[in-house]
């Protein structure tokens, strides 16, 4: 079970998640300090570790639209957050899978801040309201990257297979 700690609207861009002026910071160990940097209250809460890992940010549709900056994913991953959204913009979705940021697409979910959610394989249960909503499954191709633990181990495995094939 995980709690919804923040509700955020539709079309939340990567400029809101990780403002462009911090893009020279690239290391996943350093990007979390700038998460939602222009939302001073939320940023302060995150930095003060007042939001426990595993907490849920509940977004509307088209979460993560805009820039391809991967910092927008690593900054959220740094706090162990889970994203639940009605829909997610393509590049952000792919980046999240590549880096292993947990995210769930639940188009019909209604929940408010403070609600507790249980995420199952194909549905999400709001234990506060007692309602249940379907989860949109990831395409199998993307699931394979998640199952490998992200795109780096996935690619490394192919690289080693190729190297092995050329030496034997």
């Amino acid at each position: 079970m995980a709690q919804v700690v923040y509700c955020i609207g539709d079309d939340i861009s990567t400029d809101v998640i990780y403002p462009g002026r911090y893009m020279a910071t690239v290391l996943p160990s350093e990007t979390p300090q700038f998460a939602f940097a222009d939302d001073a209250a939320l940023n302060a809460k995150l930095k003060a570790k007042q939001i426990p890992p595993g907490s849920i940010i509940l977004a509307g549709s088209n979460f993560g639209c805009g820039s391809s900056r991967e910092q927008a994913v690593s900054t959220l991953k740094g706090y162990g957050l889970t994203i639940v959204a009605k829909s997610i913009a393509r590049i952000f979705l792919q980046n999240a899978i590549n880096l292993g940021l947990p995210l769930v697409v639940a188009p019909d979910l209604t929940a408010a801040e403070g609600d507790d959610l249980v995420i199952e394989k194909d549905r999400i249960i709001n234990t506060t309201t007692g309602s249940s909503s379907r989860i949109e499954p990831l395409p199998p191709a993307r699931q394979a990257i998640l199952d490998a633990g992200g795109l780096i181990p996935y690619t490394r495995k192919i690289l080693l297979q190729r190297a092995h094939a050329t030496t034997t």
Binding site: D11, S13, D15, V16, P19, G20, R21, M23, A24, T25, V26, L27, D38, S61, N62, C65, G66, S67, S68, R69, E70, Q71, V73, S87, A89, R90, I91, Q94, N95, N98, L99, P139, P140, A141, R142, A144, I145, G150, L151, I152, Y154, T155, R156, I158, L159, L160, A163
Partner: protein
């Protein structure tokens, strides 16, 4: 059933005769572009090779392009150090398509790639920048990816697990009225589709308006296709494309356009008549909040920005120069101009556009992304309003969440710089 352009390109790049929307393929990549964020790509690339016992090696150094544009010249020691790290990598891996901070060969990646002849019709182009969609203007399938995905491409030479996108066909008819053009068309289309209307889809452009549009205009509409969520925009290559490649990009070898089949399967078809289109403005804080200029006339503006990967080309500068020639930028308004490349800057100098702009009071900056994404020059003060020919107006986009950004064409931007308020370029300040 026939194939769309993207289906044909992805089938060919994957060694198949056919592909359809929804297929998952591993297409070979023809060109892999990064800008300053190559610094992060390098980290991830070395991470892939970690503990493998293998020497890190880019799959094909002639297919990697790196262009510095986001923070040029460097605005901080941190950026300068990142750029230095990328330069060292470029030298070690003999990457030839590298464009450093220079007045001759430098500029914005989405102008450098086409003008250097790096993009060909039918190619698969990936870039660690969401506006990589621009290169669909030359009939390529070009899409934005993250840094880790680029590191994977550098390693393997193909993109992993690419789902063939469905295609929305947009047919554009009619002739633009004076002071109306490609930027107004794409803003109107984004307003119609909404910011997510084309998510996971490709927009394929057709119709006589597109056929008669120069490559510079096609770059504008493909550039901003991503603002409707599109994976890419594509204009099927035609005579104009071949002429651009030969005359502007210096391409000498044969070019092989990929065209859609007459019975290609489109998810939907949208028809737009531009003969009655008005100048359009995208209002804060989303790109799909689009209104005809008449709805926002008189809005006070503190800063006008003309430039970027969307509208920093020679015809954009010519339009702006013609409007401000002999006039003065309004008191209380700053006008910043960023040519898209060194080549364009030099031509604008030769044509006298730069002098026209400067005499009117504009500040002409070096080619680069400038204030578009709020990292470098031209920050906004609290409560200030910018009118810009760039492509995004998200809250905080230009570096200050207490400011507002309106998006428009070069004609609207230039006319408004003179009056200090949002102005219809067809009537000027009258």
């Amino acid at each position: 059933m026939g194939m769309t352009v993207v289906e044909k390109i992805l089938a060919r790049a994957s060694g198949l005769h056919a592909a359809k929307a929804g297929d998952v393929l591993e297409p070979k990549v023809d060109l892999a572009m990064s800008h300053e964020n190559a610094a992060l790509v390098i980290n991830q690339f070395l991470e892939i090779y970690k503990d493998t016992g293998l020497e890190p090696r880019v799959w094909d150094s002639s297919r990697v392009a790196i262009i510095f544009d986001h923070r040029v010249p460097a605005e901080s020691p941190k950026t300068a150090t990142n750029q230095k790290k990328v330069r060292d990598f470029v030298a070690r891996h003999t990457i030839s398509k590298f464009h450093d901070i220079r007045g001759d060969l430098g500029g914005i990646c989405h102008q450098i790639l086409p003008e250097s002849g790096y993009v060909r019709p039918g190619a698969v182009v990936v870039g660690t920048d969401s506006h990589t969609t621009s290169h669909g203007a030359l009939g390529a399938f070009a899409f934005g990816i993250g840094a880790t995905e680029m590191a994977s491409v550098w390693t393997l030479g193909h993109a992993v697990n690419v789902e063939v996108p469905a295609t929305i066909k947009v047919e554009v008819h009619g002739s633009f009225r004076p002071m109306v053009g490609p930027k107004d068309l794409i803003l109107r289309l984004i307003g119609l589709l909404t910011a997510q209307g084309a998510n996971f889809r490709v927009i394929e452009f057709h119709g006589e308006t597109i056929n008669t549009m120069p490559t510079s205009g096609r770059l504008v509409i493909c550039n901003m296709s991503v603002e409707a969520g599109a994976t890419s925009g594509i204009v099927p290559a035609d005579g104009e494309t071949l002429q651009y490649l030969r005359e502007e990009a210096g391409v000498k070898d044969p070019v092989d356009p990929v065209l859609p089949d007459p019975d290609a399967a489109y998810e939907k078809v949208i028809s737009i008549d531009v003969s009655t289109l008005e100048p359009q403005v995208a209002c804060p804080h989303t790109v799909d909040n689009v209104k005809p200029v008449g709805h926002v006339l008189g809005k006070r503006i503190n800063q006008v920005v003309i430039g970027s990967c969307t509208n920093g080309r020679l015809d954009d500068l010519a339009t702006a120069a013609a409007i401000v020639r002999g006039k003065k930028v309004a008191q209380g308004t700053r006008m910043l101009v960023f040519p898209a490349s060194g080549r364009i800057y030099q031509r604008a100098l030769e044509q006298g556009y730069i002098a026209d702009l400067m005499r009117a009071g504009a500040v002409v900056m070096n080619p680069g992304c400038g204030p578009c994404l709020g990292v470098h020059e031209g920050a906004l003060g609290d409560g200030e309003v910018a009118l810009s020919t760039t492509n995004r107006n998200f809250k905080g986009r230009m570096g200050n969440p207490q400011s507002e950004v309106f998006l428009c064409s070069p004609a609207v931007a230039a006319a408004s710089a003179i009056t200090g308020v949002i102005t219809d370029p067809r009537t000027g300040g009258a």
